[in-house]
Structures are given as structure tokens and as C-alpha cells.
């Protein structure tokens, strides 16, 4: 019996045209040997198979339904997601289904340019973090990051260089945080980072570390052409014990980002944790018109 053979990067796959089942054959010797018309047909048919089905492999449903994910498309997805390819002879099984779902979830939550979490994933992670903070009261920090004068990079060096800069900054961000933190591309040249369980005392340090890392990074945008960029960061801690809203939290961090920008860029500004201290100015007004003025009078100028 003749088996058409196809070669992938991993093992070799044999297709039994009769039973229409798949079998992996880990035999590198066969590679490229059986390329024939028949194989091409078989391969094409294979790729048109429904990739997600609960039926056992030996009884695949007819590959006619347009709504179904074709095996070819599924393989492409799996390849892009970076997940290990499941055994192809598991097609249709729960393992395969899960792998495809994982790949889909992963791809739908990732920014294609940088590989960071995308905006959608960020918002989900933020909602989860708000739940956690409301329940556990742990301090959590959101950092908004923006590449300084990014438009100039695009204008002077082209969008390809802009993409390289974005990728380099993304990498710096990833290198500076813990595995539990969520680094995401918020949009354009803006990034957002969620740092769960980050005490206020460390917030400024983390932000500063990220800022310095980017500042020191040399981005090669062409042969012997190196670019340096800087970022501005704004951060806000979640209000503890209470359920904040995602837009409010982001807005507070954004306000700090604007502050960092207006104070000259290439700096990190964090919203100070709520101060219970009452400033002299506030006290001044509190007792300004009061009947306690004499009692409270101090000789301080």
C-alpha cells in the first residue's frame, strides 16, 4: 500500500487515503522522497479537512461545511501561536481541539508586531486585577508608557524603523518586569503595564528601571544606523479595598503620563499614594477664619 508523504518541520506525516486517518512517522529518511501528484492531492485534501470535530479521526466528517475551521488554517494558527504542534494524528481529539483553542486564544490576545499582550488582553487582565485588589487589598500599579517624540522617528526614518523602535521598547519592557506582570501594547507607541502586588515604595524604582533600560538601548534601524529613544511613564496605584473601574484607573495613570510629558519627557511620574498628611497650606485654610486662630497660633513664619 502506498502512502503519500508530506514533510513538515517536525515529524513526517503519513496519510492513509483509504481510512483517511493520519499517522505520524518519525522517519527522516522519507523526507522529500514521495513527492508525487498523488501526494499533492492528498495533502490538499488533508488541509481542507475540518480541524475541529468531536468525531474520531477514522471517521472525519465530510469536509464540506464552510463554517468549520479547516485543518490547513488550524495548522497555520498553531504555527503562528508558537505553541508546540500537537500530534497530527490527534486531529479531532480533545487534545487537538484544546491546542487549537489555546492557539486561537493566544493569537487573539497578542499584539502581532511586538508579541506583547494586546489591548483586549490588557483590559481583561486589568478587570481581573481590580477584582483581586478589591478582595485582597494588595497594592497594584498600572504604568502607562509612551515613546517620546515617536512621530519624529517615523517622519525621519520611515515606518519600518518605527516598527523596530516599538519592538525594541517592547523588549526592554519585558526584560524589566516580573513574569506575573502584564506588559501590553496599548496602541500606537503607547504601552501599559499591570504590576500586581507592587508596594508603593517600589513603584518608582520599577518605573525608573524601565526608563533607564530604554534610554540605554540602542536600536539598530539599518546597517550601521543606530537610534536612541526615550520613554515617559505615568503610574497610578489601585485604590485599595474598593472596586475601582478600569477607565478610572487608566485615566489616573494617564494623568501622570501627561505630567511626565509636560515636565520634559524621559521621566517617570507616579501618583502619590493617598496622603493622610495635611499640608501647612490646608491647615492654614482650615483655621483661617476659625475661632481657634489664637489657640492654634504658632510663631512659625
Amino acid at each position: 500500500m502506498e502512502w503519500p508523504v508530506t514533510q513538515r518541520t517536525g515529524p513526517l506525516w503519513l496519510i492513509d487515503p483509504k481510512s483517511a486517518s493520519l499517522e505520524a512517522l518519525r522517519c527522516p529518511k522519507l523526507a522529500g522522497n514521495h513527492v508525487s501528484n498523488r501526494f499533492v492531492r492528498a495533502e490538499k485534501a488533508l488541509l481542507d479537512w475540518p480541524a475541529i470535530t468531536a468525531l474520531p479521526v477514522s471517521h472525519p466528517p465530510a469536509p464540506t461545511e464552510h463554517s468549520q475551521l479547516k485543518l490547513g488554517a488550524a495548522l497555520q494558527l498553531l504555527g503562528q501561536s508558537g505553541h508546540p504542534l500537537p500530534e497530527l494524528n490527534d486531529v479531532g481529539s480533545a487534545v487537538w481541539l484544546q491546542a487549537v483553542i489555546d492557539a486561537l486564544c493566544d493569537l487573539s490576545s497578542r499584539d502581532p508586531l511586538t508579541g506583547l499582550a494586546n489591548r483586549r488582553h490588557f483590559e481583561l487582565a486589568l478587570a481581573r486585577e481590580i477584582d483581586r485588589v478589591a478582595r485582597a487589598g494588595e497594592p497594584a500599579l498600572v504604568l502607562m508608557v509612551d515613546i517620546d517624540r515617536f512621530k519624529l522617528v517615523n517622519d525621519n526614518h520611515g515606518h519600518a524603523a518605527g516598527d523596530l523602535v516599538i519592538q525594541a521598547v517592547a523588549q526592554c519592557l519585558m526584560e524589566c518586569v516580573r513574569p506575573m506582570d502584564t506588559v501590553s501594547r496599548f496602541g500606537g507607541e503607547e504601552f501599559a503595564i499591570i504590576l500586581p502586588n507592587c508596594p508603593p515604595a517600589f513603584g518608582q524604582q520599577v518605573a525608573e528601571r524601565i526608563r533607564r533600560k530604554v534610554e540605554q538601548r540602542e536600536v539598530t534601524i539599518a546597517l550601521s544606523q543606530v537610534l536612541n529613544v526615550t520613554i515617559s511613564l505615568g503610574g497610578a496605584f489601585a485604590p485599595q479595598w474598593v472596586r475601582s473601574s478600569a477607565p478610572l484607573w487608566i485615566e489616573r495613570a494617564d494623568q501622570q503620563l501627561y505630567r511626565a510629558k509636560s515636565e520634559g519627557r524621559n521621566r517617570a511620574c507616579l501618583e502619590m499614594p493617598p496622603v493622610s498628611l495635611v499640608s501647612a497650606e490646608e491647615k492654614g485654610l482650615l483655621f483661617a477664619t476659625s475661632q481657634f486662630e489664637e489657640e492654634d497660633h504658632t510663631s512659625n513664619p
Binding site: P239, Q240, R252, E281, L286
Partner: protein, 268 residues
């Protein structure tokens, strides 16, 4: 023309209003106000529960002269049921005391928070109002207790130190918990109208420093004066006797002040 009518609220929605009583500074009569306000509300027909949210550091037991064997501590540790820990207090309300064993809970762990949340969930449908007698200061325990409440009442005295701490509390609650409505009771006023003056002073500083610091679109923080309680030697007398003012000397000026606060609380 038919106008749409609001559907009646489901029966399960009936839930106690939770009022946190806090002060910033200790010794301003917070627990005294909590206990007597509960009695005043009970007189107005409300089913009231006072919860010692200071977790064993409050003087609620002293004020009420109740030293029960079963406390919140036993509920937390599973030694007793919640029902056994809820006691009738002299003023016609119920009280849930923490017991000194809870001092070990003064560090607010996730367990303590969950326990408190659970307890409030259980008791909320049974009462019209729950008063949370919080601790002094702006510790995380206090902030957490206040976060459980639908309304917050700050007790202050005309003392400059009390006023400063009341302001600090209001500031933290506004910025950290996005509270835009703060109720105020001024205790120990020496002349009528002093409460209004103090409210005005606090409001002025809040308008100048707190509201502008809030995120754009936030409601301005408003301090509502619920009433003032005059300095009254009857208070000292009642506290010394470890009795509720409203029980022993209900006709005195301070008691009238508390009754007025309760009236203002119950009239929408």
C-alpha cells in the same frame, strides 16, 4: 397614554443601610455617638445592629457595659455561631462585639476581610441599619471597614486637632474610595451653630484642595452636617455610669442633639 412604571424591587433587595462611623482622631466620642445614635434610631422604629469594626480595640463593650462570653472572635474561629454573638443592647438595638481576642486580627488579612464581608452579607437583610463603629485613625482596618459601608459619618469635635484629622479622613475617603458624600456630626460644641461653622470650614478646604485633585468628571465632595451635640455634663455622667445617655438622661441637651441626628438620618 400609558407611562412605564418601575418594576417593584425584588424582596431580596431589602437590605440594611450600612453606616460607617469614623473620626480620624480618637477620643472625640465616636463610640459614644455610635451607641447612642443606634438607640435613637431604634426609637424611631429601625432595626439596628452596631458592629464593633475596630476588631477588639473599640470601647463599645465599655460604653454599653456588656462583656459577653461569645464574641466575633469566636465566630471567626468557628467556636460559635453568628447568632450566638449578636446581643441585645440596652438601647433596643443589637450589637456584635469583637472581644479582646480579636486584637490578633488588627493586622488585616484576607481571612479577616472575608469573614467580615460574610458576616455583613448574612446580617444585612435582617436589619434596617448597620452601624460600623470603626477604629480611630486612618489605618487599613478603618479604611476597609468604611469601604463596606454605603454611607460614612465622620465624628469631629471643634478641637483643631480633631478637625485636622477629620479633614485628613475626608480627604483619604474622597481620593481613595471616591466618596463624594460625607456626613458630619460635630460633638462637644460649646455654642449652638458651631457645627455649621465647622462644616463650612471643612467644606472650604475640601473645595480648595480635595475636589480639584480628583480625576476629571468626579462629583465634588460634599460634607453634610447631620447635627451637633453640645458639651453636656450628662454625657460624662452616663459614660461614668456605663449607661447609654439616651437611656439614663434622655432629656438632656446632648441626647436631644443625638435624637436630631437620628431624625435627619431617617428622613430622606
Amino acid at each position: 397614554m400609558s407611562t412605564p412604571t418601575n418594576p417593584p424591587a425584588p424582596a431580596t433587595a431589602k437590605r440594611a443601610r450600612i453606616l460607617a462611623v469614623t473620626s480620624g482622631k480618637g477620643g472625640v466620642g465616636k463610640t459614644f455617638v455610635s451607641a447612642n445614635l443606634a438607640a435613637a434610631l431604634a426609637r424611631r422604629g429601625e432595626r439596628v445592629l452596631v458592629l464593633d469594626a475596630d476588631l477588639g480595640l473599640a470601647n463599645l463593650d465599655v460604653v454599653l457595659n456588656l462583656f459577653p462570653k461569645i464574641t466575633l472572635h469566636d465566630v471567626f474561629t468557628g467556636k460559635a455561631s453568628l447568632e450566638d454573638a449578636i446581643l441585645p443592647a440596652p438601647g433596643g438595638f443589637s450589637v456584635l462585639l469583637a472581644g479582646s481576642g480579636l486584637v490578633e486580627y488588627s493586622r488585616l488579612t484576607a481571612e479577616v476581610r472575608d469573614q467580615l464581608l460574610k458576616i455583613i452579607e448574612v446580617v444585612a437583610p435582617r436589619y434596617d441599619r448597620i452601624l460600623l463603629d470603626t477604629g480611630a485613625g486612618i489605618s487599613d482596618v478603618v479604611l476597609f471597614a468604611v469601604s463596606l459601608a454605603t454611607e460614612v459619618l465622620v465624628v469631629a469635635t471643634p478641637e483643631p486637632t480633631s478637625l485636622t484629622d477629620a479633614y485628613a479622613t475626608i480627604k483619604v475617603l474622597a481620593t481613595q474610595q471616591q466618596r463624594s458624600a460625607i456626613a458630619l456630626v460635630v460633638n462637644q460644641v460649646s455654642r449652638s451653630g458651631e457645627g455649621r461653622v465647622i462644616r463650612g470650614q471643612l467644606q472650604q478646604v475640601v473645595d480648595r484642595f480635595v475636589t480639584p485633585s480628583l480625576p476629571a468628571g468626579s462629583a465634588p465632595v460634599k460634607i453634610e452636617l447631620l447635627g451637633e451635640i453640645p458639651i453636656d455634663k450628662s454625657v460624662r455622667e452616663a459614660v461614668q455610669r456605663r449607661q447609654l445617655l439616651l437611656e439614663t438622661l434622655p432629656g438632656c441637651e446632648a441626647a436631644k442633639g443625638i435624637l436630631a441626628v437620628a431624625a435627619k438620618l431617617t428622613t430622606p
